[in-house]
């Protein structure tokens, strides 16, 4: 049986990791520490004195406070540039000494609980491209855009720093074109697409295997082993939604129903429903999300027509798929077909 999971009010994010960077940024811009920590049930003295963990809920509140206090559109990008490889113990060491971008992205996904605790990265590879897409496992609500800006910027900045070269990333965002587009352009470049119904960054696959100057296989492997050992000691990893989404995405053609999903997690269906609601989600939303992501990939990246997608995802027929897609995105699939190549 796999280890248990975390929920949004459980404390597992060390304050000295990402929260400390955010606090540093805010304090250096003369934000009052009380205003910054309002409603988080944290005090600056405690954070400085002893090892302290935050729950996702507290960290999200901290981010909302920082956004209010700083009131500057570049906050997410400034923070993003500092996040990776980071100073988060073995996971950061492994990243820093990864052999190439491909391995670094694998580490990012494997060690996501430490490296990206608020947004889950997932990696998809095909013949031409690597797709790194982001899921919201805590029901972050309004903070989501901030988290996506921050996370995509973090990966771009890390790959630039560790590879020593500028990589042709393309960025897709689920939100609409923002007011502060110049921040995106200055920090991420011009290959930006908005209103995409998914947050994903795309890179031609040949860049994944280019060797990185700091690579060290031994340091990397040893650090990864150490990270695994720490997680085993803790006895659990990742968030509940992360786990459920993974179970759904693995069985796209025959989604487990709520009862069997609950049984798999050793919960009663009612408890599972309640827990999903607590994270701002539902069984239906997770199932739709997993199928939408698969459908977007097939339509955009592979250029499949409706029949082929319907067949792949076990829809009754093409019109059925078309209707579902319309319900999820407000668009018809043909609008999006093939534009990634354009």
């Amino acid at each position: 049986m796999s280890p248990a999971w975390y929920e949004r009010d459980e404390r597992f994010i060390p304050a000295r990791h990402q929260p400390a960077l955010l606090m540093d940024l805010a304090l250096s811009r003369e934000v009052d520490s009380h205003a910054l920590l309002r409603g988080t049930r944290l005090f600056l003295e405690d954070v400085l004195k002893a090892p302290l963990d935050l729950s996702p809920e507290q960290f999200l509140r901290l981010i909302a406070n920082a956004q209010d206090c700083l009131d500057a559109p570049d906050t997410a990008f400034l923070l993003g540039q500092q996040l990776l490889p980071g100073h988060y113990g073995p996971a950061s060491q492994a990243l820093e000494h990864a052999a190439n971008l491909g391995q670094a992205l694998d580490i990012l996904v494997g060690e996501r609980q430490v490296l990206s605790p608020l947004l889950v990265p997932r990696l998809k590879l095909d013949g031409e491209h690597a797709y790194l897409y982001w899921l919201d496992p805590w029901g972050s609500g309004e903070a989501r855009r901030f988290l996506v800006e921050m996370s995509q910027c973090a990966v771009q900045s890390m790959s630039r720093w560790l590879s020593g070269e500028r990589l042709p990333w393309r960025f897709l965002f689920s939100h609409e074109r923002p007011e502060h587009l110049e921040q995106y352009q200055a920090h991420l470049g011009m290959a930006l697409h908005f209103g995409c119904r998914i947050d994903v960054m795309v890179l031609p696959r040949e860049h994944l295997l280019r060797p990185w100057p700091r690579a060290s296989a031994t340091v990397c492997q040893a650090a990864l082993a150490e990270g695994r050992r720490e997680r085993t000691l803790a006895g659990r990893e990742h968030g509940l939604l992360d786990r459920v989404e993974e179970l759904c995405a693995a069985r796209l053609r025959a989604m487990p129903d709520l009862d069997s999903l609950a049984a798999e997690l050793a919960l009663s269906p009612a408890t599972l429903k309640r827990k999903l609601k607590k994270h701002g989600s539902s069984y239906q939303a997770l199932q739709d999300g997993a199928r939408l992501h698969a459908a977007l990939y097939l339509v955009w990246a592979r250029g499949y027509d409706n029949e082929a997608v319907a067949e792949r995802l076990a829809f009754h027929d093409a019109p059925n798929f078309r209707r579902a897609f319309r319900r999820w995105t407000g668009l018809v699939p043909s609008v999006l077909r093939g534009w990634l190549e354009a």
Binding site: H180, E182, Q185
Partner: protein
């Protein structure tokens, strides 16, 4: 907040004491000489009117001392407002305390301080206006005739992207064939993200502050410099053709290349290299279209530079 209070006490303590003591003296003198009126004789409309005026003058005084540094003009403003306040204070006390008819000093205070206060206040406001004009001269390359403090950049003493777009919209909106062309220049630092990584964000902030100063110094009177995002700056160049704008861009890059930044504690020398691009406005341009064209040119200029592969 405590820091702000100590600043207030240090800079303005004497003046505030000079307001507090006389008002207490007047109160004591009234109480010593006069009699309290019974509540039935209170005229509420007068109490509200006179007391309310005194209170608002205190609030104005508060704004003045909080927002202004100590100096001649601040002294005049505070003295003037204090005079007006004392006059209203005596007036308010009248409503509660009846003085004997022989005591004339309260009328002297009431009618004498008010005009004196107004004279000082007017003198102070005139000085403020002069001061503002000299400040505007200093700010001329950082903002144009229209001011909105909400559009200032949070880090640098420049206006941000929203202000720039507003100015571009105005400039494009009022154009017709007879008017001279204008150009827009975009400049950003090469490898600024690396500088942040290596030397820390605080050092990066200091570099940006220095860069902003250097750019302002190298622009002409009438040009407007804004910070677009990150290390990317945009200058609006009125009455400027493309060739002239390109000359300016080269001057700005050269000025930055000559600058040797010193890091804060260690004094390590950092050299900055930058890229710039210009566009001239076209008849059908929108602010967004113009900035988009400019950004693409800037990136193309960066592409042409040899890649700086970092030694690790």
């Amino acid at each position: 907040m405590p820091h702000a209070l100590t600043r207030l006490a240090r800079e303005h303590g004497q003046k505030l004491l000079g307001l507090f003591l006389p008002s207490q003296l007047v109160l004591l003198a009234c109480l010593a000489q006069g009699q309290l009126k019974p509540a039935a004789e209170w005229v509420w409309i007068d109490i509200l009117g006179e007391g309310g005026t005194a209170l608002f003058i205190l609030i104005w005084l508060g704004f003045i001392v909080i927002s202004r540094p100590a100096g001649r003009i601040t002294n005049l403003l505070v003295l003037g407002l204090s005079g007006v306040f004392l006059s209203m204070w005596v007036d308010t006390l009248d409503e509660f305390i009846r003085l004997p008819a022989t005591a004339r000093w309260d009328q002297w205070l009431e009618s004498g301080l008010m005009p004196l206060g107004f004279v000082l206040l007017t003198w102070g406001l005139h000085g403020w206006q002069q001061e503002q004009r000299s400040l505007m001269r200093q700010l001329a390359k950082r903002e144009r005739l229209f001011r909105d403090h909400r559009l200032y950049d949070k880090l640098l003493p420049l206006c941000g992207a929203a202000y720039l777009r507003e100015q571009l919209r105005l400039e494009l909106g009022t154009r017709d064939e007879r008017q001279p062309v204008f150009s827009v220049l975009m400049l950003d630092l090469d490898e600024f993200a690396d500088l942040n990584r290596r030397h820390g964000r605080a050092e990066g902030d200091r570099v940006l502050e220095a860069v902003a100063q250097i750019l302002v110094l190298n622009l002409r009177h009438g040009d407007l410099l804004c910070r677009l995002a990150g290390d990317r700056f945009v200058a609006l160049l009125p009455r400027t053709g493309e060739t002239q704008a390109q000359g300016l861009a080269q001057e700005l890059c050269a000025a930055l290349a000559c600058y040797a930044h010193k890091t804060a504690p260690a004094g390590e020398r950092l050299h900055l290299s930058s890229s710039a691009a210009v566009v001239m406005c076209e008849a059908q341009d929108t602010p967004e279209g113009l900035l988009d064209r400019l950004t693409r040119r800037l990136l193309a200029a960066k592409e042409r530079k040899p890649p700086l592969r970092r030694a690790s």
